[in-house]
Symmetry: C2
Subunit: 402 residues, 2 copies
DNA sequence: TTTTGTTAGTCTAGTGGCTAAACAAAGTTT
DNA sequence: AAACTTTGTTTAGCCACTAGACTAACAAAA
């Protein structure tokens, strides 16, 4: 429970907090009996009974018949009703759009992906609407229906959900939140793609058990999502984690951001491709080189390409080391497109970190690659919506009383 | 957990939280009447009256006679009783030890500084005891007496207050917290010097109005203290902010930590001195060059020395830019010894940041130098103790019921 | 089968802290 | 002096929690 700074403490807050504790317990330890919840959360049996009844009325949980007796009356097991509603998560990439419909546990029920290249905003918006329409139509009947829409975008999103800049999409000052809220009359959350990915991994992926996670989204560029003390850290205006433009070489080459020696010039997908082009690597079949081409060349044992990957892994390690020194995280998770090359990146990356990171930082530290692969951001976006729905839902009756 | 503690937990947490809100209001808006507190905090008049009576009984606040009437009965003004107790803050440096005795508002009542060089642990411990003894003896009579001791040390402190490593003092695995607690029977808080400095500036210095502050402690080395969402962020084990060893030049010169191109090789006091030595700057009077010598040379207009400072300022800017990209802070405060040279560092530093930092990061961002100068860490250490005392004090009656 | 013991979940009385509103106190304004 | 304002206290009532009695449902022993 975290005290909200400007809110006073009263009975409503206590009930709300306890209800939330009970629900979380049920979500994470399902199936579980009322008695077990009471004992583990530390609330009185009666209190738990009453809160559980509220949750049952809200259809957020359900009873699943009797459990095993341990020498007495058989308990009634409680389950999180993950089908009480559905959430939509969208990951807008530079040349793809991935949408998922998940239940309240983040299980994917339907997905839809479209790929494109150099589309105008209107065209992408159209694809976005189509995807959302499709996913909404595919949602099963449920007490709460679609509870919200979360969107991850490759750009700068401020604290109010406005997209200030998405350079690779050529978007500027776009209030997508307002557009979607007006069209669908649902709660909409817009987030930076790296933040969404971080949240996805924290909720459903490699970061489930950690409270301090740094998610490195290495794609065309590099963005970073920060989970500190168990929740997303967004900074003063929402612009934290722009670590792709961290200087790792003071007088290095010039970046598109105008500075020199930025991390993403060394360790991103774009960096790999540029390096490959410089090597005059050409392909017989295609015109433009892609990451997948490099991957298959590496699979075939091309030493030059393997060396490219190893170089990139090393540079990834340099930046990650800086991250470790900054944040002292429990876990660093590397995601987005570069994560698919973990086989070739991992060795040099790990070497760089274990040689370079200060010894005390290496205790209790895990460095790993995304567990959700291409779904991190879409799932994270969906998770934002779910989280928002659950907390609002718990406060519902209370705010109605006031 | 003990069921009794849980009983108190939910019911008393409301009172405790509200009492804390009321106390904070009085501290920050003193003098203030009960009625004004009730209105501004949002609590009922009666509730405030009762909480205020508790606080009066605890001597944490006092009444200061009637205030001005605004057309009705004159209010009784309430004041924070900053003399209800005193706190000791210690800043252990590489070659100095600074101790302060402050009241509960962080006002310095007494201070004592000793300087030394190459002392053994036992000798420093002796100085520490002497300083604490002196400060304790100098404290005026008060209801709560000395409420605790806070210590800032130039090294790595884990979450339990154990000093894992203080390289410049040659300390290792030292449980100073235990030693001081046993000797003085008072609550003791040990923190990294940069964390203490950050807290000091947040509470009493340049950072009073910000919630997201990065304090760069630039001395012999560089350490960073992070205030995120208004409170100190320590990372998973307490080792956050080791940014002196952030790589800003991948194949740069080797650092004492074993890596290459660390920030503190370019922007610390040591970096300045090393660069000056390389220039074969020698002094007639002294053997060893010190920062103060460089400062007076710069004052005299020595262009080479000024250029040195400007170079260091530029490199400070490089690292600060990385910090801005990571954290999106409201405020970056540069403290410790290098802050004394702000006159010579400021221009190139500011230029570097304004040219290099992404435009959206520069909104609502202030970069400034320490307001508390050499007292940041000692005051911050003292503030840790005060904060601890006040929160424990508010919970006091509750724990006595158990 | 009956009895005894154990565990699950509900119900009831009591408690603590909050709110609203009445009230007393001490002003100002007309 | 009367009317109005504002402060701070008091009282009654409410709400969510706790403790513990109670009912229900089961296992194991007699």
């Amino acid at each position: 429970m975290n005290p909200r700074v400007n809110k006073t403490w009263n009975h409503h807050v206590v009930k709300e907090g306890n209800k939330s504790l009970v629900l979380k317990k049920i979500i994470n330890h399902s199936p579980i009996s009322r008695a077990a919840v009471a004992q583990e959360v530390g609330l009185n049996k009666g209190t738990v009974s009453s809160l559980v009844n509220d949750l049952l009325e809200d259809h957020l949980i359900c009873e699943s018949g009797p459990g095993k007796s341990s020498g007495g009356r058989r308990p009634v097991m409680l389950l999180f009703n993950e089908k009480a509603g559905y959430s939509i998560g969208i990951d807008i990439g530079v040349n793809y759009l991935l949408g998922v419909l998940t239940d309240l546990s983040g299980t994917i029920c339907h997905e839809k992906e479209v790929t494109f290249k150099n589309l105008s905003y209107e065209e992408i918006e159209n694809q976005l609407f189509n995807t959302i329409d499709y996913l909404m139509a595919s949602a099963p009947e449920s007490p709460h229906g679609i509870v919200g829409i979360g969107v991850g975008v490759p750009g700068i999103v401020d604290n109010h959900g406005e997209i200030l800049l998405a350079p690779n999409l050529k978007w500027k000052n776009l209030n997508l939140k307002l557009i979607l809220e007006n069209k669908y009359q649902l709660p909409v959350i817009i987030e930076n793609e790296a933040n969404a990915g971080a949240y996805g991994e924290k909720k459903y992926g490699a970061g489930k058990d950690s409270e301090h996670i740094i998610y490195v989204s290495a794609g065309i560029g590099i963005g970073v999502g920060l989970i500190l003390n168990g929740s997303l850290y967004k900074g003063s205006n929402g612009f934290s984690g722009e670590l792709g433009h961290m200087t790792i070489q003071v007088n290095g080459p010039t970046c598109r951001c105008g500075n020199k020696g930025c991390w993403e010039l060394y360790a991103s997908e774009q960096a790999l491709l540029t390096a490959a082009e410089k090597m005059q690597l050409t392909l017989p079949t295609k015109k433009e080189l892609e990451l997948s081409d490099l991957l298959s060349l590496a699979e075939q044992g091309d030493p030059k390409v393997i060396a490219l990957f190893e170089q990139a892994g090393d540079f990834l390690g340099v930046g990650i080391n800086n991250i470790i020194n900054s944040f002292n995280p429990q876990q660093v998770i590397i995601g987005n497109r570069m994560a698919s090359s973990y086989k070739w990146l991992n060795k040099t990356l790990t070497e760089r970190v274990s040689n370079q990171a200060l010894w005390f930082q290496q205790n209790d530290l895990t460095i790993c690659f995304s567990e959700l692969s291409t779904f991190s951001s879409a799932l994270g976006a969906s998770a934002f919506s779910i989280e928002n729905f659950l907390s609002v839902s718990i406060q519902q009756k209370i705010s109605m009383n006031v």
